[in-house]
C-alpha cells in the first residue's frame, strides 16, 4: 500500500514537471509588446516645434476627440514611408494628429515637413527621447491612439500601413 502511494506521488510529481516544461517550451521566447493597452496619458512639458514655446500636456489634448500621437524623425526612413498615410488620415475630422519629433535636428525636421507636408495639428520636440519614454515608446516610428477619455488605447510599433489606418478609422467611427 505504502509502495503504491510512493509511486502515485512520484507519477503526479513527474506529470506536474512535464506539464510545466511543456508549457514553457511551447511558449514563444520572442518578446512581443502588447498593442492593446489602456494607460493614462502622461503628464509632460515640452517645446512646440513651430513656435519653440513651452507647452504642457494639459494644453495639447484639450478637445474631446480621438488623438493620434505619432513619433517621427527626419532621419527615420520608415517615417517617410508612412507620411502619405498620415497626410490622408489628417483629412479625417474625427481625429487630431500630434507629432513627436524624436531626437532630431530641428532644421532637418523642418525640411522634412516642408517637403512632405504637415499632417499634425501640433508638433512637440523630444530632443533627448525622454518624452517618448513617458509614452512607453521603443523607438521611431511609433503611433499611439488616444480615446475621448484621454486614455492610450492602442500602440502601433513601426510604420503604419493601410490596414492600421482602416483599423483606426473603424475605432473612431
Amino acid at each position: 500500500m505504502k509502495n503504491k502511494f510512493s509511486i502515485f506521488v512520484i507519477v503526479i510529481f513527474l506529470t506536474f514537471c512535464f506539464v510545466i516544461f511543456y508549457k514553457g517550451l511551447d511558449s514563444s521566447n520572442i518578446y512581443t509588446p502588447k498593442n492593446n493597452i489602456e494607460t493614462n496619458l502622461p503628464i509632460f512639458k515640452a517645446k512646440d516645434f513651430i513656435t519653440n514655446t513651452d507647452i504642457d500636456s494639459a494644453t495639447v489634448f484639450t478637445e474631446e476627440s480621438y488623438y493620434i500621437v505619432n513619433i517621427w524623425a527626419s532621419w527615420c526612413v520608415p517615417c517617410r514611408k508612412e507620411h502619405p498615410l498620415l497626410m490622408e488620415l489628417s483629412k479625417n475630422q474625427l481625429i487630431k494628429l500630434i507629432g513627436l519629433n524624436y531626437m532630431d535636428n530641428l532644421n532637418n525636421a523642418k525640411k522634412f515637413i516642408n517637403e512632405l507636408g504637415n499632417p499634425y495639428t501640433q508638433i512637440l520636440i523630444d530632443k533627448d527621447g525622454t518624452l517618448a519614454v513617458e509614452f512607453g515608446a521603443y523607438g521611431v516610428p511609433e503611433t499611439f491612439l488616444i480615446d475621448r477619455n484621454k486614455k492610450i488605447i492602442k500602440k502601433f510599433i513601426g510604420p503604419i500601413n493601410k490596414k492600421i489606418i482602416e483599423e483606426i478609422k473603424l475605432i473612431i467611427k
Partner: protein
C-alpha cells in the same frame, strides 16, 4: 576670525553632505539601470547599452531619482510603461508564481522522499 572659521566649517559640511548625497544617488541610479532590460538590444541591460532607447531611459531614471522617487517607484513607473519584461528581477505575480514556488515545492518533495526512504531503511 572666529566667525570666518564657523562659516568655513558650515560651508565644508554642506559641501560634503552634497557630495555624499550625489554619490548615493549615483549608486542607486547604477543599481536600477543594471536591473532594467534594454528592450531593443540583445541580452543587454540599459546600463551596458549605448542605444538611443537606453540613453533616454538613463536620463529618465536620473530625473526620477532627482525628483525623489525610490527604487521601487522607478520600477513601478517603468513597469506601467513597458510591462514586467523591462525589469530583470520580476516580482511575484500570477504569471510568475510557478517560477517562485517551484524550487520550494521541489525542496519539500525532495525532503519528503529522502525522509521516507530513511524511515523505511530504519
Amino acid at each position: 576670525m572666529k566667525y570666518l572659521n564657523i562659516f568655513l566649517i558650515i560651508f565644508l559640511l554642506i559641501g560634503f553632505s552634497q557630495l555624499k548625497s550625489e554619490e548615493k544617488n549615483s549608486e542607486l541610479k547604477n543599481k536600477i539601470l543594471k536591473n532594467i532590460r534594454c528592450l531593443i538590444c540583445q541580452g543587454q541591460s540599459v546600463y551596458d547599452s549605448e542605444s538611443d532607447f537606453a540613453s533616454s531611459i538613463k536620463l529618465i531614471v536620473n530625473e526620477k531619482i532627482n525628483q525623489g522617487m525610490s527604487e521601487d517607484q522607478v520600477y513601478k513607473f517603468l513597469r506601467e510603461k513597458y510591462g514586467n519584461w523591462v525589469i530583470y528581477d520580476p516580482k511575484l505575480s500570477k504569471n510568475s508564481y510557478i517560477l517562485w514556488l517551484l524550487p520550494l515545492l521541489l525542496f519539500f518533495v525532495g525532503g519528503a522522499i529522502i525522509s521516507k526512504i530513511l524511515i523505511f531503511r530504519n
